[in-house]
Symmetry: C2
Subunit: 318 residues, 2 copies
Protein backbone atom coordinates (compact mmCIF):
# COMPACT_ATOMS: atom_id res chain seq x y z
CA UNK A 1 0.00 0.00 0.00
CA UNK A 2 3.04 2.31 0.12
CA UNK A 3 2.88 2.53 -3.69
CA UNK A 4 0.29 5.28 -3.85
CA UNK A 5 0.05 8.90 -2.86
CA UNK A 6 -1.10 10.37 0.44
CA UNK A 7 -4.41 11.39 -1.16
CA UNK A 8 -5.02 8.02 -2.83
CA UNK A 9 -4.02 5.89 0.15
CA UNK A 10 -5.91 8.07 2.64
CA UNK A 11 -4.91 9.58 5.96
CA UNK A 12 -5.71 6.66 8.24
CA UNK A 13 -4.06 4.01 6.05
CA UNK A 14 -0.89 6.09 5.72
CA UNK A 15 -0.76 6.73 9.46
CA UNK A 16 -1.14 2.98 10.10
CA UNK A 17 1.85 2.42 7.82
CA UNK A 18 3.94 5.07 9.60
CA UNK A 19 3.14 3.77 13.06
CA UNK A 20 3.22 -0.01 12.59
CA UNK A 21 6.22 -1.99 13.80
CA UNK A 22 7.85 0.86 15.74
CA UNK A 23 9.19 0.02 19.18
CA UNK A 24 8.48 2.56 21.93
CA UNK A 25 10.81 3.01 24.92
CA UNK A 26 9.54 1.74 28.31
CA UNK A 27 8.60 5.26 29.48
CA UNK A 28 5.76 5.34 26.93
CA UNK A 29 2.57 4.17 28.67
CA UNK A 30 0.29 5.00 25.72
CA UNK A 31 1.72 5.38 22.21
CA UNK A 32 0.13 6.68 19.02
CA UNK A 33 -3.50 5.84 18.22
CA UNK A 34 -5.47 7.36 21.07
CA UNK A 35 -6.35 11.03 21.67
CA UNK A 36 -2.97 11.66 23.28
CA UNK A 37 0.15 9.74 24.20
CA UNK A 38 1.02 9.20 27.87
CA UNK A 39 4.55 9.12 29.28
CA UNK A 40 6.11 8.58 32.65
CA UNK A 41 9.13 10.57 33.80
CA UNK A 42 11.32 11.24 36.80
CA UNK A 43 9.79 14.61 37.62
CA UNK A 44 10.32 17.80 35.62
CA UNK A 45 9.59 17.69 31.89
CA UNK A 46 11.54 19.82 29.41
CA UNK A 47 9.78 20.74 26.16
CA UNK A 48 10.81 22.55 22.97
CA UNK A 49 9.52 22.84 19.40
CA UNK A 50 10.84 23.63 15.91
CA UNK A 51 9.05 24.07 12.60
CA UNK A 52 10.86 23.25 9.32
CA UNK A 53 9.43 24.56 6.05
CA UNK A 54 10.35 23.29 2.58
CA UNK A 55 12.35 25.86 0.66
CA UNK A 56 13.34 27.67 3.83
CA UNK A 57 14.85 25.04 6.13
CA UNK A 58 15.36 22.22 3.64
CA UNK A 59 15.20 21.55 -0.08
CA UNK A 60 13.79 18.28 -1.40
CA UNK A 61 16.36 18.38 -4.21
CA UNK A 62 19.23 18.40 -1.68
CA UNK A 63 17.81 16.37 1.22
CA UNK A 64 16.04 13.03 1.07
CA UNK A 65 12.90 12.74 3.22
CA UNK A 66 14.95 10.40 5.42
CA UNK A 67 17.57 13.16 5.95
CA UNK A 68 14.86 15.69 6.80
CA UNK A 69 13.45 13.37 9.44
CA UNK A 70 16.85 12.87 11.05
CA UNK A 71 17.64 16.61 11.05
CA UNK A 72 14.26 17.56 12.52
CA UNK A 73 14.73 15.16 15.42
CA UNK A 74 18.40 16.05 15.95
CA UNK A 75 17.83 19.78 16.28
CA UNK A 76 15.01 19.27 18.76
CA UNK A 77 16.88 16.68 20.82
CA UNK A 78 19.74 19.16 20.98
CA UNK A 79 17.54 21.74 22.72
CA UNK A 80 16.94 19.26 25.53
CA UNK A 81 20.66 18.44 25.72
CA UNK A 82 21.28 22.18 26.11
CA UNK A 83 19.18 22.16 29.30
CA UNK A 84 21.25 19.27 30.69
CA UNK A 85 18.58 16.68 29.94
CA UNK A 86 17.86 13.83 27.57
CA UNK A 87 15.10 13.63 24.97
CA UNK A 88 12.51 10.97 25.79
CA UNK A 89 9.68 11.47 23.26
CA UNK A 90 8.73 13.40 20.16
CA UNK A 91 5.46 14.36 18.45
CA UNK A 92 5.53 15.36 14.79
CA UNK A 93 3.18 17.46 12.66
CA UNK A 94 3.62 16.75 8.95
CA UNK A 95 2.07 18.79 6.17
CA UNK A 96 2.50 17.80 2.50
CA UNK A 97 0.63 17.99 -0.80
CA UNK A 98 -1.86 15.20 -1.46
CA UNK A 99 0.12 13.99 -4.47
CA UNK A 100 3.17 13.24 -2.30
CA UNK A 101 4.16 9.60 -2.68
CA UNK A 102 3.36 7.61 0.44
CA UNK A 103 6.87 6.14 0.19
CA UNK A 104 8.25 9.64 0.81
CA UNK A 105 6.23 9.93 4.02
CA UNK A 106 7.46 6.50 5.06
CA UNK A 107 11.08 7.57 4.42
CA UNK A 108 10.55 10.72 6.51
CA UNK A 109 9.13 8.57 9.31
CA UNK A 110 12.10 6.18 9.05
CA UNK A 111 14.48 9.12 9.45
CA UNK A 112 12.52 10.48 12.41
CA UNK A 113 12.56 7.07 14.07
CA UNK A 114 16.23 6.29 13.38
CA UNK A 115 17.41 9.55 14.93
CA UNK A 116 14.96 9.24 17.83
CA UNK A 117 16.24 5.72 18.51
CA UNK A 118 19.79 7.12 18.58
CA UNK A 119 18.82 9.22 21.61
CA UNK A 120 16.76 6.45 23.23
CA UNK A 121 13.41 8.09 22.50
CA UNK A 122 10.30 7.32 20.44
CA UNK A 123 7.84 9.18 18.22
CA UNK A 124 4.74 8.98 20.39
CA UNK A 125 2.23 10.95 18.35
CA UNK A 126 1.64 13.14 15.34
CA UNK A 127 -0.69 14.81 12.91
CA UNK A 128 -0.69 14.54 9.11
CA UNK A 129 -2.37 17.23 7.04
CA UNK A 130 -2.61 18.50 3.48
CA UNK A 131 -0.39 21.54 2.81
CA UNK A 132 0.90 23.31 -0.33
CA UNK A 133 4.51 22.39 0.57
CA UNK A 134 6.22 20.18 3.13
CA UNK A 135 6.14 21.41 6.72
CA UNK A 136 7.63 19.31 9.50
CA UNK A 137 6.92 20.49 13.02
CA UNK A 138 8.61 18.58 15.83
CA UNK A 139 8.07 18.91 19.56
CA UNK A 140 10.45 17.16 21.92
CA UNK A 141 9.87 16.17 25.53
CA UNK A 142 12.83 15.54 27.77
CA UNK A 143 13.72 14.39 31.23
CA UNK A 144 16.21 16.19 33.51
CA UNK A 145 16.70 13.07 35.67
CA UNK A 146 16.20 15.06 38.86
CA UNK A 147 18.86 17.69 38.13
CA UNK A 148 18.02 21.40 37.90
CA UNK A 149 18.04 22.72 34.31
CA UNK A 150 21.23 24.40 33.04
CA UNK A 151 19.98 27.81 31.92
CA UNK A 152 21.61 30.50 29.80
CA UNK A 153 21.80 32.97 32.64
CA UNK A 154 24.23 31.31 35.07
CA UNK A 155 27.67 32.12 33.61
CA UNK A 156 30.01 33.84 36.08
CA UNK A 157 33.18 35.87 35.53
CA UNK A 158 36.17 33.53 35.58
CA UNK A 159 34.28 30.54 34.14
CA UNK A 160 35.86 28.63 31.29
CA UNK A 161 33.88 28.64 28.03
CA UNK A 162 33.97 25.21 26.39
CA UNK A 163 32.39 23.47 23.44
CA UNK A 164 31.69 19.88 22.44
CA UNK A 165 30.71 18.75 18.95
CA UNK A 166 31.43 20.22 15.55
CA UNK A 167 31.47 23.91 14.59
CA UNK A 168 31.05 25.40 11.12
CA UNK A 169 30.42 22.12 9.30
CA UNK A 170 26.79 22.86 8.39
CA UNK A 171 27.64 26.37 7.13
CA UNK A 172 30.53 24.95 5.09
CA UNK A 173 28.27 22.28 3.62
CA UNK A 174 25.68 24.90 2.74
CA UNK A 175 28.30 27.00 0.93
CA UNK A 176 29.45 23.93 -1.00
CA UNK A 177 25.89 23.01 -2.04
CA UNK A 178 24.95 26.60 -2.81
CA UNK A 179 28.02 27.26 -4.97
CA UNK A 180 28.00 23.85 -6.69
CA UNK A 181 31.47 23.00 -5.39
CA UNK A 182 32.23 19.30 -5.94
CA UNK A 183 33.80 16.97 -3.37
CA UNK A 184 33.86 17.41 0.42
CA UNK A 185 31.10 14.83 0.70
CA UNK A 186 31.26 14.63 4.50
CA UNK A 187 30.70 18.38 4.85
CA UNK A 188 27.90 18.44 2.27
CA UNK A 189 26.27 15.56 4.12
CA UNK A 190 26.67 17.29 7.50
CA UNK A 191 24.62 20.24 6.27
CA UNK A 192 21.75 17.85 5.63
CA UNK A 193 22.07 15.76 8.81
CA UNK A 194 23.83 17.23 11.87
CA UNK A 195 25.63 15.06 14.40
CA UNK A 196 24.91 16.52 17.84
CA UNK A 197 27.09 15.24 20.70
CA UNK A 198 24.28 13.28 22.37
CA UNK A 199 24.75 12.69 26.08
CA UNK A 200 27.14 15.60 26.55
CA UNK A 201 24.44 17.94 27.82
CA UNK A 202 23.83 15.69 30.81
CA UNK A 203 27.60 15.24 31.22
CA UNK A 204 28.02 19.02 31.37
CA UNK A 205 25.24 19.32 33.93
CA UNK A 206 26.87 16.65 36.11
CA UNK A 207 30.21 18.49 35.79
CA UNK A 208 28.66 21.67 37.19
CA UNK A 209 28.09 23.71 34.03
CA UNK A 210 26.82 27.17 35.04
CA UNK A 211 25.24 28.04 31.65
CA UNK A 212 24.70 26.15 28.41
CA UNK A 213 23.09 26.44 24.98
CA UNK A 214 23.35 24.62 21.67
CA UNK A 215 24.94 26.23 18.63
CA UNK A 216 21.94 26.65 16.37
CA UNK A 217 22.23 30.32 15.28
CA UNK A 218 26.05 30.48 15.26
CA UNK A 219 28.71 30.37 17.99
CA UNK A 220 28.93 34.16 18.49
CA UNK A 221 25.17 34.64 18.35
CA UNK A 222 24.46 31.79 20.77
CA UNK A 223 27.21 32.88 23.16
CA UNK A 224 25.65 36.33 22.91
CA UNK A 225 22.47 34.85 24.37
CA UNK A 226 24.44 33.39 27.29
CA UNK A 227 26.39 36.64 27.80
CA UNK A 228 23.20 38.74 27.75
CA UNK A 229 21.21 36.41 30.02
CA UNK A 230 24.14 36.12 32.46
CA UNK A 231 25.12 39.79 32.39
CA UNK A 232 28.71 38.98 31.45
CA UNK A 233 31.24 39.48 28.68
CA UNK A 234 32.58 36.40 26.87
CA UNK A 235 35.98 36.45 25.19
CA UNK A 236 37.00 33.68 22.79
CA UNK A 237 40.56 32.79 21.79
CA UNK A 238 40.65 32.02 18.09
CA UNK A 239 43.78 29.88 18.59
CA UNK A 240 41.66 27.48 20.66
CA UNK A 241 39.36 26.91 17.66
CA UNK A 242 42.20 25.46 15.56
CA UNK A 243 40.66 21.95 15.38
CA UNK A 244 37.58 23.27 13.64
CA UNK A 245 39.49 25.80 11.53
CA UNK A 246 41.95 23.14 10.36
CA UNK A 247 39.16 20.71 9.50
CA UNK A 248 37.48 23.33 7.35
CA UNK A 249 40.65 24.71 5.72
CA UNK A 250 40.52 22.87 2.39
CA UNK A 251 36.80 23.50 1.84
CA UNK A 252 37.20 27.16 2.83
CA UNK A 253 40.04 27.47 0.32
CA UNK A 254 37.86 25.90 -2.40
CA UNK A 255 34.99 28.23 -1.56
CA UNK A 256 37.25 31.27 -1.23
CA UNK A 257 36.13 32.17 2.29
CA UNK A 258 37.78 32.65 5.68
CA UNK A 259 36.98 29.50 7.71
CA UNK A 260 36.56 31.66 10.85
CA UNK A 261 33.41 32.95 9.18
CA UNK A 262 31.95 29.41 9.30
CA UNK A 263 33.26 28.50 12.76
CA UNK A 264 32.17 31.73 14.48
CA UNK A 265 29.02 32.47 12.52
CA UNK A 266 27.68 29.16 11.20
CA UNK A 267 24.69 27.59 12.90
CA UNK A 268 22.80 24.29 12.74
CA UNK A 269 25.66 22.00 13.83
CA UNK A 270 24.10 21.72 17.28
CA UNK A 271 27.38 21.61 19.14
CA UNK A 272 26.94 22.47 22.82
CA UNK A 273 28.65 25.50 24.35
CA UNK A 274 28.76 25.87 28.12
CA UNK A 275 30.53 27.65 30.93
CA UNK A 276 32.30 25.83 33.78
CA UNK A 277 33.81 27.09 37.05
CA UNK A 278 36.24 24.15 36.91
CA UNK A 279 37.60 21.82 34.25
CA UNK A 280 35.09 20.97 31.51
CA UNK A 281 34.28 17.25 31.20
CA UNK A 282 36.25 14.91 28.88
CA UNK A 283 35.66 15.62 25.21
CA UNK A 284 34.96 19.33 25.73
CA UNK A 285 37.40 21.93 24.33
CA UNK A 286 38.07 25.17 26.21
CA UNK A 287 37.66 28.07 23.77
CA UNK A 288 37.49 31.17 25.95
CA UNK A 289 36.73 32.81 29.24
CA UNK A 290 33.83 34.60 30.92
CA UNK A 291 34.78 38.20 31.88
CA UNK A 292 33.22 40.79 34.12
CA UNK A 293 31.47 43.39 31.93
CA UNK A 294 33.47 46.60 31.74
CA UNK A 295 33.73 49.84 29.77
CA UNK A 296 34.00 48.91 26.12
CA UNK A 297 32.63 45.40 26.48
CA UNK A 298 29.46 45.38 28.57
CA UNK A 299 26.98 42.70 29.52
CA UNK A 300 26.10 40.61 26.47
CA UNK A 301 29.31 41.35 24.60
CA UNK A 302 31.16 38.50 22.87
CA UNK A 303 34.65 39.25 21.63
CA UNK A 304 37.33 37.30 19.76
CA UNK A 305 40.88 37.72 21.09
CA UNK A 306 39.69 40.76 23.03
CA UNK A 307 38.20 42.61 20.06
CA UNK A 308 34.79 42.88 18.43
CA UNK A 309 34.30 40.45 15.55
CA UNK A 310 33.33 42.23 12.37
CA UNK A 311 32.21 39.24 10.30
CA UNK A 312 28.82 37.57 10.11
CA UNK A 313 27.26 36.36 13.36
CA UNK A 314 24.25 34.12 12.99
CA UNK A 315 20.99 34.48 11.15
CA UNK A 316 17.38 35.36 11.80
CA UNK A 317 14.32 33.67 10.37
CA UNK A 318 13.10 36.68 8.38
Amino acid sequence: MADGTLAADGEFAVIDRLVSGRRQPPSVVVGPGDDAAVLTGTGATAVSTDMLVEGRHFRLDWSTPYDIGRKAIAQNASDIEAMGGRATAFVVGYGAPGDTETAQAVALSDGLWDEATRVGAGIVGGDMVAAPQWVVSVTVLGDLDGRPPVLRGGARPGDVVAVVGELGRSAAGYALWHNDIEGFEALRRRHLVPAPPYGQGAAAARAGATAMTDVSDGLLADLGHIAAASGVHVDLAVALLHDDLDALGPAAHAAGVDPRHWVLGGGEDHALVATFPDEPPPGWRAIGRVRRPAAGFGAGAVTVDGAAWTGSAGWQSY
Copy 2:
Protein backbone atom coordinates in the same frame (compact mmCIF):
# COMPACT_ATOMS: atom_id res chain seq x y z
CA MET B 1 7.08 48.21 17.27
CA ALA B 2 3.94 46.22 16.46
CA ASP B 3 3.36 48.55 13.50
CA GLY B 4 5.66 46.73 11.08
CA THR B 5 5.82 43.36 9.42
CA LEU B 6 7.47 40.19 10.69
CA ALA B 7 10.34 40.69 8.23
CA ALA B 8 10.85 44.39 9.06
CA ASP B 9 10.58 44.00 12.83
CA GLY B 10 12.75 40.86 12.91
CA GLU B 11 12.30 37.48 14.56
CA PHE B 12 13.73 38.28 17.98
CA ALA B 13 11.87 41.58 18.40
CA VAL B 14 8.57 39.99 17.41
CA ILE B 15 9.11 37.06 19.77
CA ASP B 16 9.85 39.51 22.60
CA ARG B 17 6.55 41.21 21.85
CA LEU B 18 4.65 37.90 21.84
CA VAL B 19 6.18 36.69 25.09
CA SER B 20 6.26 39.85 27.22
CA GLY B 21 3.71 40.34 29.95
CA ARG B 22 2.28 36.81 29.84
CA ARG B 23 1.67 35.12 33.16
CA GLN B 24 2.70 31.45 33.39
CA PRO B 25 0.95 29.01 35.74
CA PRO B 26 2.93 27.84 38.82
CA SER B 27 3.82 24.49 37.22
CA VAL B 28 6.11 26.29 34.73
CA VAL B 29 9.64 26.26 36.17
CA VAL B 30 11.28 27.71 33.04
CA GLY B 31 9.18 29.59 30.47
CA PRO B 32 10.05 30.84 26.98
CA GLY B 33 13.51 32.25 26.26
CA ASP B 34 15.87 29.39 26.99
CA ASP B 35 16.59 26.28 24.90
CA ALA B 36 13.53 24.51 26.30
CA ALA B 37 10.77 25.14 28.82
CA VAL B 38 10.67 23.09 32.02
CA LEU B 39 7.48 21.98 33.77
CA THR B 40 6.64 20.09 36.91
CA GLY B 41 3.77 17.62 37.03
CA THR B 42 2.15 15.02 39.22
CA GLY B 43 3.54 12.03 37.34
CA ALA B 44 2.41 10.89 33.90
CA THR B 45 2.42 13.45 31.08
CA ALA B 46 -0.11 13.33 28.24
CA VAL B 47 0.94 14.85 24.92
CA SER B 48 -0.79 15.49 21.60
CA THR B 49 -0.23 17.68 18.53
CA ASP B 50 -2.24 19.25 15.69
CA MET B 51 -1.15 21.20 12.63
CA LEU B 52 -3.48 23.83 11.11
CA VAL B 53 -2.78 25.07 7.58
CA GLU B 54 -4.25 28.23 6.04
CA GLY B 55 -6.76 27.41 3.32
CA ARG B 56 -7.26 23.90 4.67
CA HIS B 57 -8.11 24.30 8.36
CA PHE B 58 -8.88 28.01 8.46
CA ARG B 59 -9.37 30.95 6.13
CA LEU B 60 -8.00 34.37 7.00
CA ASP B 61 -11.06 35.96 5.35
CA TRP B 62 -13.40 34.08 7.76
CA SER B 63 -11.31 33.83 10.93
CA THR B 64 -9.38 36.58 12.65
CA PRO B 65 -5.88 35.63 13.84
CA TYR B 66 -7.30 35.82 17.36
CA ASP B 67 -9.96 33.19 16.46
CA ILE B 68 -7.33 30.92 14.92
CA GLY B 69 -5.29 31.07 18.10
CA ARG B 70 -8.27 30.15 20.26
CA LYS B 71 -9.31 27.28 17.99
CA ALA B 72 -5.79 25.83 17.81
CA ILE B 73 -5.53 25.72 21.59
CA ALA B 74 -9.09 24.45 22.09
CA GLN B 75 -8.74 21.45 19.80
CA ASN B 76 -5.48 20.42 21.43
CA ALA B 77 -6.73 20.91 24.98
CA SER B 78 -9.68 18.73 24.03
CA ASP B 79 -7.38 15.80 23.22
CA ILE B 80 -6.08 15.89 26.79
CA GLU B 81 -9.64 16.13 28.16
CA ALA B 82 -10.42 13.00 26.12
CA MET B 83 -7.77 11.09 28.09
CA GLY B 84 -9.33 12.24 31.37
CA GLY B 85 -6.64 14.86 32.00
CA ARG B 86 -6.21 18.62 31.98
CA ALA B 87 -3.99 20.64 29.68
CA THR B 88 -1.11 22.31 31.51
CA ALA B 89 1.15 23.76 28.80
CA PHE B 90 1.35 24.39 25.07
CA VAL B 91 4.16 25.00 22.58
CA VAL B 92 3.34 26.62 19.25
CA GLY B 93 5.09 26.57 15.86
CA TYR B 94 4.02 29.52 13.69
CA GLY B 95 4.86 29.87 10.02
CA ALA B 96 3.82 32.97 8.05
CA PRO B 97 5.00 35.12 5.15
CA GLY B 98 7.53 37.83 6.00
CA ASP B 99 5.10 40.58 4.95
CA THR B 100 2.58 39.51 7.61
CA GLU B 101 1.78 42.45 9.88
CA THR B 102 3.30 41.98 13.32
CA ALA B 103 -0.07 43.01 14.76
CA GLN B 104 -1.56 39.85 13.20
CA ALA B 105 0.99 37.68 15.00
CA VAL B 106 0.24 39.51 18.22
CA ALA B 107 -3.49 38.87 17.73
CA LEU B 108 -2.81 35.17 17.13
CA SER B 109 -0.75 35.07 20.31
CA ASP B 110 -3.53 36.85 22.25
CA GLY B 111 -5.99 34.19 21.07
CA LEU B 112 -3.63 31.38 22.00
CA TRP B 113 -3.11 32.87 25.44
CA ASP B 114 -6.76 33.67 26.14
CA GLU B 115 -7.86 30.11 25.38
CA ALA B 116 -4.89 28.62 27.26
CA THR B 117 -5.77 30.76 30.27
CA ARG B 118 -9.34 29.42 30.11
CA VAL B 119 -7.96 25.91 30.79
CA GLY B 120 -5.43 27.10 33.39
CA ALA B 121 -2.40 26.55 31.13
CA GLY B 122 0.30 28.69 29.54
CA ILE B 123 2.15 28.91 26.23
CA VAL B 124 5.62 27.86 27.35
CA GLY B 125 7.56 27.88 24.10
CA GLY B 126 7.40 28.24 20.36
CA ASP B 127 9.11 28.70 17.04
CA MET B 128 8.41 31.37 14.43
CA VAL B 129 9.48 30.80 10.83
CA ALA B 130 8.94 32.17 7.35
CA ALA B 131 6.43 30.16 5.29
CA PRO B 132 4.44 30.78 2.08
CA GLN B 133 1.16 30.64 4.05
CA TRP B 134 0.10 30.52 7.67
CA VAL B 135 0.79 27.25 9.48
CA VAL B 136 0.00 26.93 13.19
CA SER B 137 1.28 23.79 14.88
CA VAL B 138 0.29 23.30 18.50
CA THR B 139 1.50 20.65 20.93
CA VAL B 140 -0.27 20.27 24.26
CA LEU B 141 1.06 18.72 27.45
CA GLY B 142 -1.35 17.54 30.07
CA ASP B 143 -1.51 16.08 33.53
CA LEU B 144 -3.63 13.08 34.51
CA ASP B 145 -3.48 14.00 38.22
CA GLY B 146 -2.56 10.47 39.18
CA ARG B 147 -5.47 8.75 37.42
CA PRO B 148 -4.95 6.15 34.69
CA PRO B 149 -5.75 7.49 31.19
CA VAL B 150 -9.22 6.81 29.77
CA LEU B 151 -8.45 5.05 26.50
CA ARG B 152 -10.63 4.31 23.49
CA GLY B 153 -10.44 0.58 24.01
CA GLY B 154 -12.25 0.06 27.33
CA ALA B 155 -15.95 0.17 26.37
CA ARG B 156 -17.90 -2.92 27.50
CA PRO B 157 -21.26 -4.32 26.39
CA GLY B 158 -24.01 -2.78 28.50
CA ASP B 159 -22.21 0.54 29.04
CA VAL B 160 -24.16 3.72 28.48
CA VAL B 161 -22.84 5.99 25.71
CA ALA B 162 -22.99 9.64 26.74
CA VAL B 163 -21.88 12.99 25.41
CA VAL B 164 -21.14 16.41 26.87
CA GLY B 165 -20.75 19.60 24.87
CA GLU B 166 -22.20 20.66 21.54
CA LEU B 167 -22.68 18.47 18.44
CA GLY B 168 -23.05 19.65 14.86
CA ARG B 169 -22.53 23.36 15.52
CA SER B 170 -19.21 23.64 13.68
CA ALA B 171 -20.53 21.75 10.64
CA ALA B 172 -23.63 23.94 10.62
CA GLY B 173 -21.51 27.07 10.83
CA TYR B 174 -19.33 25.87 7.98
CA ALA B 175 -22.38 25.27 5.79
CA LEU B 176 -23.66 28.76 6.59
CA TRP B 177 -20.32 30.38 5.75
CA HIS B 178 -19.77 28.24 2.68
CA ASN B 179 -23.23 28.93 1.22
CA ASP B 180 -23.29 32.63 2.17
CA ILE B 181 -26.40 32.18 4.32
CA GLU B 182 -26.94 35.29 6.47
CA GLY B 183 -27.83 35.26 10.16
CA PHE B 184 -27.24 32.45 12.66
CA GLU B 185 -24.28 34.43 14.05
CA ALA B 186 -23.73 32.11 17.01
CA LEU B 187 -23.38 29.07 14.73
CA ARG B 188 -21.12 30.90 12.27
CA ARG B 189 -18.98 31.99 15.18
CA ARG B 190 -18.87 28.46 16.63
CA HIS B 191 -17.30 27.15 13.42
CA LEU B 192 -14.42 29.57 13.96
CA VAL B 193 -14.00 29.06 17.71
CA PRO B 194 -15.25 25.83 19.33
CA ALA B 195 -16.38 25.71 22.95
CA PRO B 196 -15.14 22.41 24.39
CA PRO B 197 -16.64 21.37 27.74
CA TYR B 198 -13.44 21.96 29.71
CA GLY B 199 -13.16 19.96 32.91
CA GLN B 200 -15.62 17.28 31.82
CA GLY B 201 -12.88 14.89 30.73
CA ALA B 202 -11.56 14.68 34.27
CA ALA B 203 -15.15 14.49 35.58
CA ALA B 204 -15.79 11.50 33.31
CA ALA B 205 -12.61 9.79 34.48
CA ARG B 206 -13.61 10.29 38.11
CA ALA B 207 -17.07 8.88 37.32
CA GLY B 208 -15.52 5.66 35.99
CA ALA B 209 -15.68 6.21 32.23
CA THR B 210 -14.49 3.03 30.49
CA ALA B 211 -13.65 4.70 27.14
CA MET B 212 -13.60 8.28 25.87
CA THR B 213 -12.69 10.40 22.86
CA ASP B 214 -13.44 13.90 21.65
CA VAL B 215 -15.70 14.54 18.67
CA SER B 216 -13.22 15.92 16.17
CA ASP B 217 -13.96 13.84 13.05
CA GLY B 218 -17.72 13.46 13.66
CA LEU B 219 -19.80 11.57 16.22
CA LEU B 220 -20.18 8.37 14.17
CA ALA B 221 -16.56 8.37 13.05
CA ASP B 222 -15.21 9.00 16.54
CA LEU B 223 -17.54 6.42 18.12
CA GLY B 224 -16.30 4.08 15.39
CA HIS B 225 -12.79 4.50 16.85
CA ILE B 226 -14.08 3.53 20.29
CA ALA B 227 -16.11 0.62 18.92
CA ALA B 228 -13.15 -0.71 16.93
CA ALA B 229 -10.61 -0.28 19.74
CA SER B 230 -12.99 -1.86 22.28
CA GLY B 231 -14.23 -4.66 20.00
CA VAL B 232 -17.85 -3.69 20.51
CA HIS B 233 -20.91 -2.44 18.62
CA VAL B 234 -22.33 0.96 19.56
CA ASP B 235 -25.98 1.79 18.92
CA LEU B 236 -27.24 5.37 19.15
CA ALA B 237 -30.85 6.44 19.67
CA VAL B 238 -31.58 9.42 17.46
CA ALA B 239 -34.40 10.52 19.81
CA LEU B 240 -31.76 11.13 22.50
CA LEU B 241 -30.05 13.67 20.23
CA HIS B 242 -33.10 15.94 20.16
CA ASP B 243 -31.42 18.81 22.03
CA ASP B 244 -28.81 19.17 19.31
CA LEU B 245 -31.27 18.48 16.48
CA ASP B 246 -33.71 21.09 17.82
CA ALA B 247 -30.97 23.69 18.24
CA LEU B 248 -29.92 23.22 14.63
CA GLY B 249 -33.41 23.01 13.13
CA PRO B 250 -33.78 26.59 11.84
CA ALA B 251 -30.28 26.72 10.33
CA ALA B 252 -30.76 23.27 8.76
CA HIS B 253 -34.02 24.48 7.24
CA ALA B 254 -32.29 27.58 5.85
CA ALA B 255 -29.46 25.47 4.43
CA GLY B 256 -31.85 22.81 3.12
CA VAL B 257 -30.15 19.91 4.90
CA ASP B 258 -31.17 17.23 7.39
CA PRO B 259 -29.79 18.34 10.79
CA ARG B 260 -28.94 14.70 11.61
CA HIS B 261 -26.24 15.04 8.95
CA TRP B 262 -24.54 17.74 11.06
CA VAL B 263 -25.12 16.08 14.45
CA LEU B 264 -23.96 12.60 13.42
CA GLY B 265 -21.28 13.53 10.89
CA GLY B 266 -19.98 16.97 11.80
CA GLY B 267 -16.62 17.27 13.53
CA GLU B 268 -14.59 20.02 15.21
CA ASP B 269 -17.00 20.82 18.02
CA HIS B 270 -14.81 18.89 20.46
CA ALA B 271 -17.67 17.55 22.51
CA LEU B 272 -16.60 14.52 24.58
CA VAL B 273 -18.19 11.13 24.06
CA ALA B 274 -17.61 8.38 26.62
CA THR B 275 -18.95 5.07 27.86
CA PHE B 276 -20.00 4.48 31.47
CA PRO B 277 -20.97 1.30 33.33
CA ASP B 278 -23.17 3.43 35.61
CA GLU B 279 -24.85 6.83 35.41
CA PRO B 280 -22.84 9.45 33.48
CA PRO B 281 -21.84 12.52 35.54
CA PRO B 282 -24.03 15.65 35.70
CA GLY B 283 -24.21 17.55 32.42
CA TRP B 284 -23.69 14.45 30.25
CA ARG B 285 -26.51 13.21 28.00
CA ALA B 286 -27.05 9.50 27.41
CA ILE B 287 -27.30 8.93 23.64
CA GLY B 288 -26.93 5.19 23.20
CA ARG B 289 -25.72 1.86 24.43
CA VAL B 290 -22.67 -0.39 23.94
CA ARG B 291 -23.68 -3.81 22.48
CA ARG B 292 -21.91 -7.13 22.14
CA PRO B 293 -20.77 -7.52 18.51
CA ALA B 294 -22.98 -9.94 16.63
CA ALA B 295 -23.82 -11.13 13.14
CA GLY B 296 -24.70 -8.08 11.09
CA PHE B 297 -23.07 -5.55 13.41
CA GLY B 298 -19.60 -6.71 14.37
CA ALA B 299 -16.79 -5.13 16.37
CA GLY B 300 -16.36 -1.52 15.30
CA ALA B 301 -19.91 -1.05 14.05
CA VAL B 302 -21.83 2.08 14.97
CA THR B 303 -25.56 2.07 14.24
CA VAL B 304 -28.37 4.57 14.64
CA ASP B 305 -31.65 3.15 16.00
CA GLY B 306 -30.33 -0.33 15.23
CA ALA B 307 -29.55 0.32 11.57
CA ALA B 308 -26.54 1.42 9.55
CA TRP B 309 -26.43 5.17 8.92
CA THR B 310 -26.21 5.97 5.23
CA GLY B 311 -25.28 9.66 5.44
CA SER B 312 -21.86 11.26 5.72
CA ALA B 313 -19.66 10.17 8.61
CA GLY B 314 -16.63 12.31 9.25
CA TRP B 315 -13.81 13.49 7.08
CA GLN B 316 -10.21 12.63 6.29
CA SER B 317 -7.33 15.03 5.77
CA TYR B 318 -6.73 14.18 2.10
